[in-house]
């Protein structure tokens, strides 16, 4: 059903509206729509030209990707919003990031039993590169972050937590508030944290520290070590590999054991 009617009355009304708009120097929405359609076709051509010259650059060069994304963000365009967008179809940026998203989820699922759904960006990066194989394109940490931001559209469950100089990626919908985050950041140094350490660094009361640690335990993000010297240690498996990633040969392992 058309909103615009036909008939003498409607035509007259339209002429009146046009006249009014012309007076005020504004353009009708339909005219603008027609203009947009034409400009869209032109833009598509320009983009095709750009793609034929520089598509490889986007695939191969992570820094160029960052620049590209930043420019898009500045003008208010999201090249990853839809697989049917021009950017995706002609530059192939979509597929690059969507596929990366799938790989990220696979890594997180595979390691969830160990780290409760929390992983450092470094470890995620290493694991994703491993999974992609040596002939695949290089991906940077920035690429991972962008892919993860897109995954957030699928509902709670993926979020990025800044700790120290890096990020923790959370892949389960555990509720982590500011208190939890700040304790995670404290734990980054040694891979574990204690109640005394929290009280000393953050100046909290025992009860507050205890509650946060218990929540992390419950969510499977922390492991309790009651055999540590002094008081109980709360270890964060997500932060392990950062500290203990050096490959150990069989001899060294044997030497290390008492």
């Amino acid at each position: 059903m058309h909103r615009r009617g036909v008939g003498a009355g409607a035509i007259a009304k339209k002429k009146l509206a046009e006249a009014k708009y012309k007076e005020r120097g504004t353009v009708l929405a339909e005219d603008q729509l027609a203009q947009m359609s034409k400009q869209l076709d032109m833009f598509k051509t320009n983009l095709e030209e750009f793609a034929s010259k520089h598509k490889q650059e986007i695939r191969k060069n992570p820094e160029f990707r960052v620049q590209f994304q930043d420019m898009c963000a500045t003008i208010g365009v999201d090249p990853l919003a839809s697989g049917k967008g021009f950017w995706s179809e002609m530059l192939g940026v979509g597929d690059f990031y969507y596929e990366l998203g799938v790989q990220i989820i696979e890594v997180c699922l595979a390691l969830k039993h160990r780290n409760g759904g929390l992983i450092t960006l470094e470890e995620l990066h290493q694991q994703v590169l491993k999974g992609r194989g040596k002939f695949a394109q290089d991906v940077s940490q920035d690429d991972l972050i962008r892919a993860i931001k897109k995954l957030k559209a699928l509902g709670t469950g993926f979020c990025i937590i800044p700790v120290g100089g890096t990020y923790l990626i959370q892949s389960v919908p555990a509720e982590l508030n500011m208190d939890h985050t700040v304790v995670l950041q404290l734990a980054e140094k040694n891979g574990y944290v204690t109640v005394s350490e929290i009280k000393a660094s953050l100046k909290w009361e025992t009860e507050r520290a205890r509650q946060v640690l218990e929540h992390l335990l419950k969510e499977g993000l922390a492991w309790l070590d009651l055999q540590a010297p002094g008081e109980a240690h709360y270890w964060l498996p997500a932060l392990f590999t950062d500290l203990y990633s050096q490959e150990i040969t069989a001899e060294e392992a044997r030497e290390a054991l008492p």
């Binding site: 729509l33 697989g83 049917k84 967008g85 491993k130």
Partner: protein, 349 residues
């Protein structure tokens, strides 16, 4: 010309203890140089003429790609290096961030061409010695660095051409964004009648450009024809999508499922978790089933429930939470986890 790779670990022999981490590896016509990424003063170099042969070790699970460089015994006039002496005659270069394939190829090329035999070069490894006057060709570390700088400038030029083209493209894209904002405002203010068809067309323009849809949500939300088709594909009515989807496309398609009267629908739990369920799936049945399983076992955690019923832990948790919300279950929240019991307060008062 000169090649460089980042994040290289250099190891002496097979030892895992004596190593230099996180450096940049530079290749010139005469030398292989390792330089600390953070402290550029710290660098080591090997003359290519000292290399007997090189081999490549492919990356694998848990290990990065490596290049092993076998060397001639050190000549007596060799400058001091990181070690007084070594029983090994090779070094291992570990490529933490890929790149060893290309580097190996270049190094092999240099080894084949042996260009150092044709060009004179000073033996200096000190970075604080400046270029010697009178030399026409740049030599030594400074010369290498200068050549690298030239190469960088050339690469930069290629990149800057790409950036230039990109900037021009972005200017045009920005015009489109402005235009679309203007149209959207008019639609909102209901100035200038545009038909439903035109609105749909407008939405597809926005989709193509990746512009967020500012038009007030109608029945189909941000959906376009594309999303309608996707929704039908998801519901199994059309053939399954053969390409990768953007997360947003998926969500937009799911939002249309119910409106299109398809047998699936999107459901958002209080926690924000989104699921796709059958239209025929009734909430009361889900809750009753959750209560039954919990009662049969006395109490259950999400993990136990998931295993019992054969669904993901996330979904199992949502079912239990929903049953709790309806008052059929109550929780026991402790360090050992979240456990649900039948709500006897309700049934046995």
């Amino acid at each position: 010309m000169p090649e460089q790779e980042r994040h290289i670990t250099a190891r002496e022999g097979a030892s895992r203890k004596i190593k230099f981490d996180a450096g940049t590896l530079l290749l010139s016509t005469h030398r292989l140089i390792w330089r600390d990424q953070k402290n550029h003063e710290c660098c080591m170099a090997i003359l290519l003429s000292q290399i007997v042969f090189i081999e490549e070790q492919a990356a694998g699970i848990g290990k990065s790609g490596k290049i092993v460089v076998h060397l001639h015994p050190a000549p007596p006039n060799k400058e001091p290096g990181p070690f007084q002496s070594s029983k090994n005659s090779y070094i291992k270069l570990s490529f933490k961030e890929h790149g060893q394939i290309e580097f190996y190829r270049r190094l092999s090329e240099e080894m084949t061409q042996r260009r150092w035999e044709n060009m004179p070069v000073s033996q200096s490894l000190q970075t604080n010695r400046g270029p010697q006057p009178g030399r026409i060709r740049a030599v030594g570390i400074v010369g290498i660095e200068r050549k690298l700088e030239e190469k960088r400038k050339e690469t930069d030029k290629n990149i800057s051409e790409a950036f230039e083209d990109l900037s021009k493209l972005m200017i045009k894209a920005k015009e489109m964004v402005e235009l679309s904002k203007s149209i959207a405002n008019k639609i909102k203010d209901k100035q200038g009648d545009i038909t439903e068809d035109e609105t749909i067309r407008f939405k597809s323009y926005l989709l193509s450009m990746g512009i967020a849809n500012p038009v007030t949500r109608e029945t189909y939300g941000s959906g376009t024809q594309y999303h309608m088709q996707l929704a039908k594909q998801l519901a199994g009515i059309l053939q399954a999508p053969l390409e990768l989807l953007s997360p947003e496309d998926l969500v937009n398609a799911c939002k249309m499922l119910e409106a299109l009267k398809l047998p699936l629908r999107l459901r958002v739990f209080d926690s924000g978790v989104m699921v796709i369920e059958l239209q025929s799936h009734k909430e009361e049945e889900m809750v009753a089933s959750a209560l039954e399983t919990v009662s049969s076992k006395g109490s259950l955690t999400s993990e136990e429930s998931a295993k019992l019923v054969g669904m993901s832990v996330l979904l199992a948790k949502e079912r239990l939470l929903l049953a709790e919300k309806m008052g059929h279950l109550c929780r026991d929240d402790s360090v050992e986890g979240l456990r649900f019991y039948p709500n006897l307060f309700m049934t046995q008062s």
